[in-house]
């Protein structure tokens, strides 16, 4: 599904010189996975996400999405490839001046989908995330969990192959987190969408990810089945992340 090979991203930040954000990242994500990418702040998670969502061009290496190298795409092709990758953000990033239904319909309106089709698809997606009754509300009238549900529905609108979630629950309380993770799991089962979750919370990985990669200081230090990694953490950072959760 997604094959990341020798992905390196170097930022040239003027006086500070070159900053290596990602170094030789190799990751293979299978269709239907709920794949967790975990790491501390500054480990390179955000850059990896930005490379996956095609917002940032890798310095070297490849990101193959369904066999196509997304790193070299430009113009029309890039725009089409982006529709195959739904992104859910920590801060929801909803249009504040549009209703819930208009937000969900937004990606479809970009590709000139017929109005009737948009309406039907919006209805269906809002049913899926359990917010059909809120379709005419504005984001400011919703709770954090509800906003994230809208964002998930919006990300699914174009029927993407992959749902990329950037710290989807970090702004939510524990109960809401549980519900949102449950929703992601349901979506994974029902729609067979591959889900990638980037997070700093071990509990998130533990509850829904079948595979996990640990990223530290710009490199992948560990990758495997969630149970295996949790039972036999090989790297110090994984132990730290696990211990950190225990102490909590």
């Amino acid at each position: 599904m997604i094959q990341i090979e020798k992905l390196t991203k170097v930022f040239n930040s003027g006086e500070a010189g070159e900053v290596v954000a990602l170094k030789d990242i190799d990751l293979h994500i299978n269709r239907g996975d709920i794949f967790g990418i975990i790491g501390m702040s500054g480990a390179g998670k955000s850059t990896l996400l930005r490379c996956l969502s095609m917002l940032e061009t890798p310095t070297s290496g490849t990101v193959l999405l369904d066999g196509e190298d997304t790193a070299t795409l430009k113009g029309r092709k890039l725009i089409e490839a982006r529709r195959n990758m739904g992104v859910v953000f920590q801060g929801y990033n909803l249009l504040m001046q549009k209703t819930v239904a208009q937000n969900v319909a937004f990606p479809l309106s970009l590709s000139k989908t017929p109005k009737a089709e948009i309406a039907a698809r919006t209805e269906e997606l809002l049913q899926l995330v359990g917010l059909a009754d809120k379709k005419d509300n504005y984001p400011s009238q919703l709770s954090g969990g509800q906003k994230q549900r809208v964002a998930i529905a919006r990300a699914l609108a174009t029927n993407p192959l992959v749902l990329l979630c950037d710290e989807p629950t970090s702004a939510l309380d524990s109960l809401t987190t549980k519900a949102v993770l449950q929703l992601l799991q349901d979506i994974n089962h029902k729609l067979n969408v591959t889900i990638i979750i980037i997070t700093h919370e071990m509990s998130v990985v533990k509850s829904i990810c079948n595979r996990v990669a640990v990223i530290d200081e710009s490199r992948i230090v560990e990758c495997g089945q969630t149970e295996t990694v949790f039972e036999n953490p090989a790297s110090d950072i994984t132990k730290l992340l696990l211990g950190y959760e225990v102490n909590e």
């Binding site: 953000f89 249009l95 509300n137 984001p139």
Partner: protein, 244 residues
């Protein structure tokens, strides 16, 4: 005073109409040119959707220079251009040309400011969804900044009323012209006071109207949806401002 009012009512009414005519038209043209200029500034800045540092720097300087020329000097400097466009350098229409040129760079900065208020994450999200730059401008930037642009519109309009009064000194007509001609040149201070009062009323009405409109269209912080409740809420807000 009463005598003055009765005697000058037709003249003052005409002055009001002239002032409104100049303000509305020049505001329209200022936005027609200024809004795209503001968008161009915003999208070409560092990290913008169409980043272009040299363009942004040069364009920014041009706008700064235009903004720093005193209006009265700009108006005189524009005489050849004005004559070319409207055929004359005196009268309302001539003033509209100068006012539009003076206000467009001002509007550009106001629009840029409004666009800055948009959460950059929303723009990023639109890019992730495969929006083209044009779609981002039309469907995200302009839509999300509407309340702020409306607030900017009230500031621009009121500034233009002030400039319009200055244009009056160069034969443009309007309330400013009447104030100067009768109040200053003919020693009739009552006429001048009246024009000032009228200008105050016009400015207050514009501020109030646009404020209400901005609150009505802004969907952030709306806990209630119905217009009626929003209207009462808006009126209460206005009342609170007046109490202060």
């Amino acid at each position: 005073m009463q005598e003055t009012i009765i005697k000058f009512a037709p003249l003052l009414l005409e002055g009001c109409m002239d002032t409104l005519y100049m303000t509305v038209l020049s505001t329209f043209f200022a936005y027609l040119f200024g809004l795209p200029m503001g968008i161009a500034l915003f999208i070409t800045k560092q990290g913008g959707i169409a980043e272009n540092k040299p363009f942004n720097a040069i364009f920014g300087w041009v706008i700064n220079i235009l903004r720093s020329i005193p209006f009265i000097i700009l108006m005189i400097a524009l005489f050849p251009v004005t004559r070319l466009i409207v055929g004359t350098i005196i009268g309302k229409n001539a003033a509209v040309v100068a006012l539009s040129v003076a206000a467009a760079p001002f509007v550009a900065r106001m629009a840029e400011q409004s666009l800055e208020e948009i959460d950059s994450g929303v723009i990023e999200a639109a890019r992730c969804m495969g929006a083209t730059n044009f779609q981002i401008i039309v469907k995200v930037l302009l839509v999300e900044s509407i309340p702020s642009i409306i607030r900017g519109l009230s500031i621009t309009t009121i500034t233009l009323i002030g400039y319009g009064a200055m244009a009056g000194a160069l034969g443009a007509g309007g309330l400013g012209d009447i104030g100067i001609r009768y109040g200053y040149n003919r020693f009739q201070p009552n006429v001048m006071y009246l024009t000032v009062v009228l200008l105050i009323v016009i400015v207050c009405l514009i501020q109030w109207g646009f404020g209400l409109l901005a609150r009505k269209v802004d969907k952030r912080n709306t806990k209630v949806k119905s217009f009626g409740v929003n209207f009462i809420g808006g009126a209460k807000g206005v009342a609170r401002i007046y109490k202060k």
